[in-house]
Amino acid sequence: MRHVLHGEWTKLRTLPSTGWLLLALAVSTVLVGAATTGAVDTSHCPAPAGCLEDTTRLSLTGVRLGQAAAVVFAVLAIGGEYGTGMIQITLAAVPHRPRVLLAKAAVVAAGVLAAGTLGVLGSLAAGRALLPGNGFTAANGYPPPSLADGPTLRAAAGTVLYLVLVALLALGVGAVLRDTAASVTVVLTLLYVFPVITRFVTDPDWHERLDRIAPMTAGLAIQTTIRGAGPPIGPWTGLGVLAAYAAAALLAGGCVLAARDAN
């Protein structure tokens, strides 16, 4: 297994797209986070303290875009092999197919973990720099987001995990569909369109139920640091929902990979 991992790592490392996509992940997370944070200030609330703004969550908004890079990155790790026919060389070198998918999952997760950590730390730093200027000061009841604070640390680490799980979900879907464009479309639809559809459901019970099973909405519950804000699901339970999606996709991908002919 160690050698298979080494091979997959070398494979990932030697593609130009890897660096660009991971850079895009980190940069877009920080930029969108900073832009959103910069656009919100306390002046729209009757009193600054009454805004009830979750500043940590606000600072980490950028992952909603950054995750798209993680999706493309993970799908390419397997879809690119089917697209070029290289999958046959991979499976001839490592006939134990579940091992191939596990190794891919490990190296994709490692890449997203690194880039995601950079993006999240950058977003929090940007938040700390921008929030006070918009009225979110400690005096108004908004201490700057700090990793020393339990809920903020949970939100930060959880957001990195969120990105990793989204990537694993994408890898699994890629292994099932074996086509880059189709897989990216399916995963992005699942992430972005699900919440849009939910918005059109007026029945409050159903609305809540859908929010609890939408992978992005539920998964991002991990970013909630103040009571009452965010989706109707606990932070870790929400991330668990996303983890279930990722596990199911990887399992399905592993079965398809093992059962079907390699082309």
């Binding site: 091979g7 030697t14 070029t84 499976l91 390699a262």
Partner: protein, 312 residues
């Protein structure tokens, strides 16, 4: 491990099409086995099943007695080039070989060794494979096959896309790999491509084995021991040779085709009886002729138009 490929009773169907139909043959070490048949005869499918890429509907394919999927470090046991285009265009050739080496715990110095063998060393190996010509990709594919220094090698249409110099090179390479005691299987849809490089031939058509014989055997069978005799004294020559038990036919005003008696004996007979002749040539069939001879009776191998014409 014994360096062999043993295919027995292999069968594969894609939807309504039977690609490989009860195929059995063995690739022995120390010789080049040509795997010949027209496009669509099931050659690539068979190779894919040997490599464990496609699952056969029936039958087995064994490498040194074991199925491919059970090999611990497969690149050390079988080297294969199936599709030279199957590389990521964005990855440099050297990096492509390096990940393969890592995945099978092969020494990384092998990467430069095999690049040298196929003539891709230096700056070329540092370029993305997407910019390679078909011939260069073939060479990269061959380098990948040689990476683990395996005793069994398989090449699917390796001559495709190579220039004349490349073709000569690959023939020499195949011969030397076999001379080192390796089992080498090379497919081609053109019999003539294998002339001079294959020792043994497995001829397939429509997923079945039509012939499985040594090249020399095949050629002499197709040649039919025929000898061409040029003489102005046809009548005397015919009498002399017929008396010795030869079957003689006139093939021109001063030419006879003789079979059943070897050339040396013909010379002795004619000289003994004082019949003048100007030339004696042994007829040598080409592989292409041998191929035609072989497939003449294999009705299911002919084109559909011929079949319709014969009402087959």
């Amino acid at each position: 491990m014994k360096a062999t490929i043993e295919v027995s009773g292999l069968r594969k169907r894609y939807g309504p099409t039977v690609a490989v139909d009860d195929l059995s043959f063995t690739v022995a070490p120390g010789r080049v086995t040509g795997f010949v048949g027209p496009n669509g005869a099931g050659k690539s499918t068979t190779m894919r099943m040997i490599l464990g890429l496609d699952r056969p509907d029936a039958g087995t394919a064994l490498i040194g007695g074991r199925p491919y999927r059970r090999l611990r470090s497969p690149l050390r046991e079988v080297g294969a080039m199936l599709d030279a285009g199957a590389v990521h265009p964005g990855r440099r050739a050297r990096a492509h070989l390096r990940w393969m080496a890592h995945s099978n715990a092969l020494p990384v110095r092998r990467v430069d060794e095999v690049l040298d063998i196929v003539g891709l060393s230096g700056a070329v190996a540092g370029r993305p494979a997407g910019g390679y010509s078909l011939g260069m990709r073939q060479r990269l594919g061959i380098a990948a096959a040689l990476l683990g220094d395996p005793p069994v090698l398989m090449f699917d249409e390796p001559v495709n896309g190579l220039d004349p110099e490349g073709i000569t090179w690959i023939r020499g390479l195949l011969r030397s790999l076999a001379a080192e005691g390796r089992a080498v299987l090379v497919s081609s849809h053109l019999m003539s491509e294998l002339e001079g490089s294959a020792d043994h031939l497995v001829v397939v058509g429509r997923g079945r084995v039509i012939a499985d014989r040594g090249v020399r055997e095949l050629l002499s069978a197709a040649s039919g021991d025929r000898v061409l005799v040029r003489t102005g004294h046809r009548q005397e020559a015919m009498t002399v040779l017929a008396r010795a038990g030869a079957v003689v036919a006139t093939t021109g005003c001063d030419a006879l085709t003789v079979s059943g008696v070897p050339a040396e004996r013909i010379v002795a007979l004619l000289t003994g009886d004082g019949v003048p002749f100007s030339g004696i040539t042994e007829h040598r069939a080409t592989l292409e002729e041998a191929f035609m001879e072989l497939t003449r009776d294999a009705v299911d191998y002919r084109s559909s138009r011929t079949e319709a014409g014969e009402g087959a």
